[in-house]
Amino acid sequence: MNFDWTTFVLEIINFLILVWILKRFLYQPVLGVIARRRADIDKSLSDALQIRNEANELKARNEQYLIEWEAKKEAAQAQLNAELTSMRESKLAELETRINEEAERRRVLTERNRHEFERLMEERGIAQGATFTNKLLMRLASPELENRLYIVLMEDLQGLRQQDKHVIAVAAEEPGLQIKIQSAFSLDTSKRGELTRSLNQMTGKTLPVVFNTNPELISGFQIDIGAWILHANLRDELKSFGGVLRHAG
């Protein structure tokens, strides 16, 4: 067991230097990088934890949004259904009204067409009747029939109401007026005189009278005193008859 003081002292110094070398080039760098790594891992873990918390928060918020959205959707759907039901009922009512109106319109139209048809039929019937009557009376027209109508004319003139006589008197007030008497057949002198007297008596004046023959009258007379016209012939009677029937129809 040799002991050398120089070696002893130098070994102590060498060891202390070695402590410094290893501390400087081994322990500090390695522990430093380990500490940095741990800090990095801790930071990553902290970040991950924070991200997870944020994700959980977002998830919870999204779930809440989904619940709210679902509730809104259900409410909107219920409102939509109610609106659709209301609208359908309204449309149905409107459609029913339109159908009823259309049915009424068709009924009215049908009724009017039926009335029109009936009227046409009536008019055609009346026209046919008038034509038939016209043809029949034209065949029956003769001086004898006109004599008979002359008697009727005279009776009518005699039986005029006071009011009608007044109207005729007013019409005769027109200056320069002349009485026009048309007949289907020529009148003899006695009838002309009798008519002239009767008319002068009725108007209360002595007016000039003009006699004309008009075969279109078929049979009978037409007396014009200004604006007042007396129809006593088959033509106008037939016209009047047709008009009465038309109005009656």
């Binding site: 067991m1 050398d4 070696t7 070994e11 402590v19 290893l22 390695v30 430093g32 990088v33």
Partner: protein
């Protein structure tokens, strides 16, 4: 065992082969550590993983004994382990001797442990409190405390020196008697013994330092109560 030869002189001081070997170990360790730690990255490579594993293993061992002052004592204790392992294994290289096979080296290391115990103890709680623990539980035990301090330091030095020196001596004798290949198993035993002795030396130093620091803390607690 050969007596360490003086390689050269610096004035009156003869520099032995042991010191030169130690310098070689220091230079090698310094270069290796510089090369290994100059490009440390958060994602480690193989060499960085090995270095981190070594430092973390040492840190864990220290942390298991003295958790409150791990970083404080780590450089000293870790250097003891690293240096003694390398020094013990140097004897396996032909033409070189383990520095720890010299009593001058182990005595120096033991003296450093002795001084570091008091250094860390005093730094931990002050000289007054530290010295007070020698008087506890009774001042009558002061001589025994002092004898204990000296003897355990000597035991540290002699244990390491004796084991390593005897290993080299036995290997030399077996090589001389049995031939070239027979000492190989013995060399394997040398490796194991080198690791075990380094671990024992470093662990004892750690326990002594921890004892000094914890006795200090216990004294503080007693005063607080």
């Amino acid at each position: 065992m050969d007596i360490p030869t003086v390689v050269f002189y610096v004035g009156p001081f003869g520099i032995t082969s042991i010191v030169v070997t130690t310098w070689g170990i220091m230079i090698t360790l310094g270069i290796c550590c510089w090369l290994g730690t100059r490009r440390l990255a958060l994602v480690p490579g193989k060499l960085q993983t090995m270095l981190e594993g070594l430092v973390l293993a040492i840190e864990d061992n220290i942390n298991a004994v003295i958790p409150d002052h791990t970083q404080q004592v780590l450089p000293f204790i870790a250097t003891l382990w690293v240096y003694i392992v390398i020094a013990n294994l140097t004897g396996l290289i032909p033409q070189l001797h383990s520095p720890t096979g010299s009593f001058s080296v182990t005595a120096g290391l033991a003296l450093l442990v002795f001084l570091s115990v008091h250094w860390f103890g005093i730094r931990s709680g002050g000289a007054r409190n530290y010295l007070r623990h020698y008087l506890s539980p009774t001042p009558l035990l002061l001589p025994f405390h002092l004898i204990s301090e000296v003897t355990r330091t000597i035991a540290l030095a002699v244990r390491l020196f004796g084991n390593i020196m005897s290993l080299e001596l036995v290997a030399l004798l077996v090589l001389l008697v049995a031939g070239l290949l027979v000492p190989v198993p013995l060399l394997m035993l040398h490796v194991i013994e080198a690791l075990v002795q380094a671990y024992i030396f470093g662990m004892l130093a750690l326990i002594y330092v921890a004892g000094a620091m914890q006795s200090q803390q216990e004294s503080k607690k007693g005063n607080d109560i």
